[in-house]
Amino acid sequence: MTDRALVVVRAGALTTVQDRGRPGHAHLGVPRSGALDKPTAALVNRLVGNPPEAAVLETTVNGCAVRPRSTVTVAVGGAPCPVSVDGRPVAWGAPVRVPAGALLDVGAVVSGVRGYVAVSGGIAVEPVLGSRSTDLLSGLGPAPLTDGAVLPLGTPKNVHARVDVAPQPAPPAELVLRVTPGPRDDWFTAEALRTFTSRTYRVSSASNRIGLRTEGPALDRAVPGELPSEGMVLGAVQVPPDGRPVVFLADHPTTGGYPVIAVVHPGGLPAAAQAAPGTPVRFINARRH
């Protein structure tokens, strides 16, 4: 008899279960959620032979440690970090066998923010509206990991990939985000629009799965007040009253009343998920290139 489960030994600062999220329910006030760095989540799944929609662990800065009750294959990717099994260093970004009862430790990141841990069979917590993702805004999905929690695993379907180490982009030293202006760029002064796409911002430590917050020059409004609530998209750059742009990430609210000055091209969002506090951020107007 096999006991397909992971025991959480060290939950880390914030480790959540993530898959591709639950898009399609925004009209009910349900955020999309899902892994912030989607290409990495898909890659680590591929490395262990999981389908791309399998649920993985998303760690934040200081990793986590888990003990599988049966022998599994794991792969760790995203922000580079040391990985060990029962204290012995093993490969990062590659499939690794973890015997039943051994301790897999995903260490603190060397750079970047979020690590992704795929386990053969996938994390098999009960889905909510078709997804196993933890949504920190609405509280849907499983709670963030806690020490001692037990996570069920699915049954592996495929043999893992035959690669040694998969190439992965390094976390950004500077985050350059291509943006398309609008829909509410006309709520800002011409000077604010120039400032937004010419000056350098920095990633704020108040950033989370809901939004990448920035520090830098405030953007002045041409139109005062609040908008009537309107629908929000992934990558929307909302400007709250303090004038500092916030890039909406996976757990963003479905509607909002602060004007959206521009929308980040989706290709830039995985790097945004890995941009540590203090990282310089530049917004480039995609219409001018």
Partner: protein, 205 residues
């Protein structure tokens, strides 16, 4: 009607009233049901409808702005009834704002027929319209850190029911035992955009 591009694959369609937004939302749902529109999300809001996950937002923008919003179709479904005890901590303040006694404020609210204009804030939280404009109320100056689940509340032109306990700045006029959100239920949300609602007074405990 204006159609504003939102990034490369979404469109924010802006109209001049909440009523028109509800009619546009109904029309877009009809087009999607008939296979005339391929889109991931249709998100109505106060004066807009967001279409997210479009292949060709530019073409759809010119198509939409070339036409008028057809009037909202006749309502087929019965109104959902939500039982309410009108004993909320802000009922007196709302009644004073309306210039009527408390029991009269409850009657005014229970006599109106509401429509879910849109959802947001939390899963299953609907923004319901239906009271005449003279009954608009301001938000509380100081929001509460915890509003109990089931609270029936007013802010601006809207009535809402808190699906779960959360912070909130709306005026609490009553409380219901109705379950607004249950992710194990199909559908999970009791209220979705376009749902008609009546609040039915019940006696206090």
């Amino acid at each position: 009607m204006r159609a504003l591009p939102v990034g490369d694959s979404a469109l924010l369609v802006e109209v001049s009233s909440g009523h028109e937004a509800q009619a546009l939302h109904a029309e877009l749902l009809r087009r999607r049901a008939e296979g005339l529109l391929t889109v991931r999300e249709i998100v109505p809001a106060a004066r807009t409808v967001l279409l997210d996950g479009l292949d060709d937002p530019v073409r759809l923008a010119s198509e939409l702005t070339a036409s008028e919003v057809p009037p909202a179709p006749p309502r087929a479904r019965e109104a959902i009834e939500i039982p309410v005890r009108y004993d909320g901590p802000d009922l007196a303040e709302v009644a004073a704002h309306w210039g009527v006694p408390e029991h009269e404020a409850a009657r005014i609210h229970a006599d109106a027929e509401f429509t879910v204009a849109f959802c947001g804030f939390a899963p299953g939280f609907g923004y319901l319209t239906g009271l005449p404009q003279r009954y608009d109320v301001p938000r509380r100056a100081t929001p509460r850190t915890a509003v109990p689940a089931g609270s029936v509340a007013l802010a601006g032109p809207y009535t809402g029911v808190y699906p779960r306990s959360s912070p909130g700045g709306w005026q609490l006029i009553g409380r219901t035992d109705a379950v607004l959100w249950d992710h194990a239920r199909v559908p999970a949300a009791l209220l979705s955009p376009g749902t008609r609602v009546r609040f039915v007074p019940v006696d206090g405990s």
